[in-house]
Amino acid sequence: MEEKQLLAQIRNLSVEYKTRLGQVSAVDGVSFDIYKGEILGLVGESGCGKSTMGKALMRMIQPPGKITDGQIIFQGEDIMTYDDNQMRDFRGRKVSMIFQDPMTSLNPTQRVDEHIIEAIQVHESQTKTEEALTRAEKMIRKLGMQRRRMNSYPHQLSGGMRQRVMVGLGLVLNADLIVADEATTSLDVIVEAQLADQLKDIREEFGVSLLVITHNIALVAEISDRIVVMYAGHVMEIADVEPIFDNPLHPYTRGLLKSIPNIKLVDTEELYKMPGEPPNLTHPPSGCRFHPRCPRAMPICKTYEPDLEEVSSGRFVKCWLYIDHPEKESETIKVEA
């Protein structure tokens, strides 16, 4: 396999929301890489900070939220040091985003062509409208839509078409990364499968990287090259798709995969339900944030937070089971469900 080229490095990124109940540590010291032309799946239960992570990547966290720490190195530059103008240029041109609800993510009073032309001209003020229009048309056809759809208003399009317009808005500016936050979740199964296929095609054709945020593990298994598993604001495991499904290392990943009906695990008898609830992130558990629910938790897990360690090439796990520590050897604690 050819050498993978780095596109972005997220380093030690933390995001907090100030709420009346206290600070919500939604993303805490997260690090991972995104390679050129890959589809990276970001999975985890609801509320684990996936959307926050996606938004933080574009520095789109709105108050009461705030990026409190970390670096986002994109094509070698730390965008945390960018000013407003640089950020505006970065958004749309380098990274583009597709949202969950296609019904509301386009301006209801703007036609499809107006959306695309605006996106082009905002970033390339010297581009003439006719030229932008030609580019918009090309893009629409590439996405498998008829030309007459250019003159449609969002409400005249189906959910799948709207999501394709959103994708097109990113591609027309040659974005290097498209962040798709639950982009297929609200579509019906067949349209979802179509869009997923299309995302793969787009990656082939444009060489763009995709960060697919979802809690749909089946989708991730289907389209991703690599997977980042998040739990309670921490990255728990990073691995290529096959190894992680063949042999999940982190107890949370195991639980997550076991709870999916259509993924075969070695010893699945019946559908597994992970005990307990995701933690309240105003007071995250000490040590390993998963310890209150972990079937293999050890005394050390409660006190010390494990690092995200590379256990084999390209495979990272944040769990004491895979790291040595002098205090590790003690009796396993029982967990009440």
């Binding site: 789109m60 505006r88 958004r91 990274v95 386009l106 209801p108 009073t109 990113g170």
Partner: protein, 340 residues
């Protein structure tokens, strides 16, 4: 325009007919139930019964009520409006023809001020939500909203025509100029331009400033609040976030994307406010002795001039209906979800 929209508009027009009918019927009877009548109001309380009867006969008030009612309805249908019962018993059409332009000339700049000032400062406040400028704008709008029109008008008069006499106190034009003023349309601004009468134009505009600002400001408060609230909601909507994620400048997101979508609820209010605008016009006209329909209505209610009041109310009602129809059309123009 799609056929469904056309059907919708036709239904709307047809619906205004019963609405106006109910209103004028109500006015017809309310006027007659009120104590006092046009005879006493003109001839005074000590007039003899004979004299009163002569006048009553001349004005047709001796006829049975239902005859008067249908006579009035017929006048409305034929758009004849009949004749007034007091003050020279002139055709109401002529009387309104003189006064309606005065009111329109006052309300157009007023509503422009309201729309521009209200919508822009509302949008600006929303954009700078929770910053000092937002609080300042909100405070101003509440203050303006709670000051009665006549008080605001009086304040302006004291400051700008008494203390610093730069603006005329009241009326539509200097009396001297008015004696030789040739009125074609009864819109004084238009008339003075048509006749090339520049001193008259200057006077007409000068007279318009205070009343139109008073009326405009009085309505601005509501608009600021409404625009601000709707804008704040709009600025949190997904398509704005998506636009931001596409690198669209904040200014464009606020004043183009969000504001255009906010126009939809604002227009509804504008249509509803039109009735309030007319009410405001009555107060403003009284304060500034502005010879418009509002003052006419107040005068004639006092004189119990049945026909004049009935006709004026009917015209008001038609205006409100026409404006709300216009709003619906504009609505469809702004919101493609209605148009298609």
């Amino acid at each position: 325009m799609s056929s469904s929209l056309r059907r919708f508009l036709i239904t709307r027009i047809l619906l205004t007919i019963p609405m106006v009918l109910i209103l004028v019927t109500l006015i017809f009877f309310v006027m007659r139930v009120l104590p006092g009548d046009p005879i006493r109001s003109q001839l005074g309380p000590r007039v003899s019964e004979e004299q009163a009867n002569v006048l009553r006969e001349r004005l047709g008030l001796n006829r049975p009520l239902y005859v008067q009612y249908f006579d009035f309805l017929w006048d409305m249908v034929t758009l004849d409006f009949g004749t007034a019962l007091t003050q020279g018993e002139r055709p109401i059409k002529d009387e309104l023809g003189e006064r309606l332009p005065a009111t329109i000339e006052l309300t157009i700049p007023a509503i422009t001020i309201t729309a521009l000032l209200g919508i822009l400062s509302g949008a600006f406040a929303a954009k700078n939500r929770k910053k000092p400028i937002d609080y300042a704008i909100r405070l101003m709008s509440i203050a303006i909203y709670s000051i009665p029109i006549f008080f605001m008008g009086l304040l302006f008069q004291i400051v700008f025509s008494v203390r610093i006499p730069i603006l005329p106190l009241s009326g539509r034009m200097d009396t001297l100029l008015l004696t030789q003023f040739e009125s074609i349309t009864n819109f004084y601004v238009i008339d003075s331009i048509l006749t090339g009468n520049w001193p008259a134009l200057k006077s007409a505009i000068g007279h318009l400033i205070m009343p139109s600002i008073t009326l405009g400001l009085a309505l601005t408060g509501v608009f600021v609040r409404l625009t601000r609230v709707n804008m704040i909601e709009m600025l949190q909507s997904d398509f704005i976030t998506a636009g931001r994620a596409r690198g669209i400048p904040e200014r464009r997101l606020v004043y183009k994307h969000a504001l255009r979508n906010t126009f939809i609820p604002i227009l509804t209010l504008l249509g509803l406010q039109f009735a309030i605008l007319l009410a405001g016009a009555v107060l403003t006209e009284t304060t500034f002795s502005w010879p418009g329909v509002g003052r006419y209505l107040v005068d004639r209610i006092e004189l119990r001039d049945y026909t004049a009041v009935q006709a004026t109310i009917a015209v008001f009602a038609l205006f409100v209906a026409a404006i709300s129809l216009l709003m619906d059309i504009l609505y469809a123009f702004i919101d493609p979800r209605i148009r298609y």
